[in-house]
Symmetry: C2
Subunit: 135 residues, 2 copies
Amino acid sequence: MCASSPSFPSATTKAELEEGSRLMPRFGPDGLITCIATEADTGELLMVAHMNEEALAMTLKTREAWYWSRSRNELWHKGATSGQVQHVIEMRIDCDQDALWIKVRVSGDGGCCHTGRKSCFYRSVAPDGVLIEED
Amino acid sequence: MCASSPSFPSATTKAELEEGSRLMPRFGPDGLITCIATEADTGELLMVAHMNEEALAMTLKTREAWYWSRSRNELWHKGATSGQVQHVIEMRIDCDQDALWIKVRVSGDGGCCHTGRKSCFYRSVAPDGVLIEED
């Protein structure tokens, strides 16, 4: 990690983590934190992705979603090529600060999934494991 | 892993994973898959947790949410002690089958978070990292 890498404070107590008023994100052993994106106006679940420290810092700074692409192993400004930029209306963090939730408005065609669908969650799972495409 | 451990098929092609009609969940190196739970009637985001193969199999079988507790390192039938059982109304999987989404109705007091709040996402994050408790 380079010297100019962003860094966030670490919690020393559970109370600080759960009841504190300071962002102290807990990145996993892989340096990543899970982030959920929902459509700010409709609440629709769009995608689940991951951020490293730099992606989170860039998201806070620019108010656009930046992720860490695990498949390409690189920082990923969502929408930079597709036009589907995610403008962050609100960010939330969960109780133990190991998951983020961003409410976004999406530029371009408003979509999110690389398959061309709006949301990545386009299939329901039946109890027997059969997947059914939903609207 | 014991001989009777549940197992799910693995995709051999991207098309099978993204366009197929068979659940082929991709567990991470830690054997876990991320699962998001939302309230089925309101769409409210309740929590993010993780499932291993057994937890996913139990969730499909019982239609109640089972997770893998990373802090306790054990299978976790959500609500078994608190009464906050999550009844699964619908399960969805994302494009590359590495994240699950369950829409649930919650027994007991309808809550979810161990801090006593309904949702784990009770704090918003300001750009400067200040957390603010929201309704």
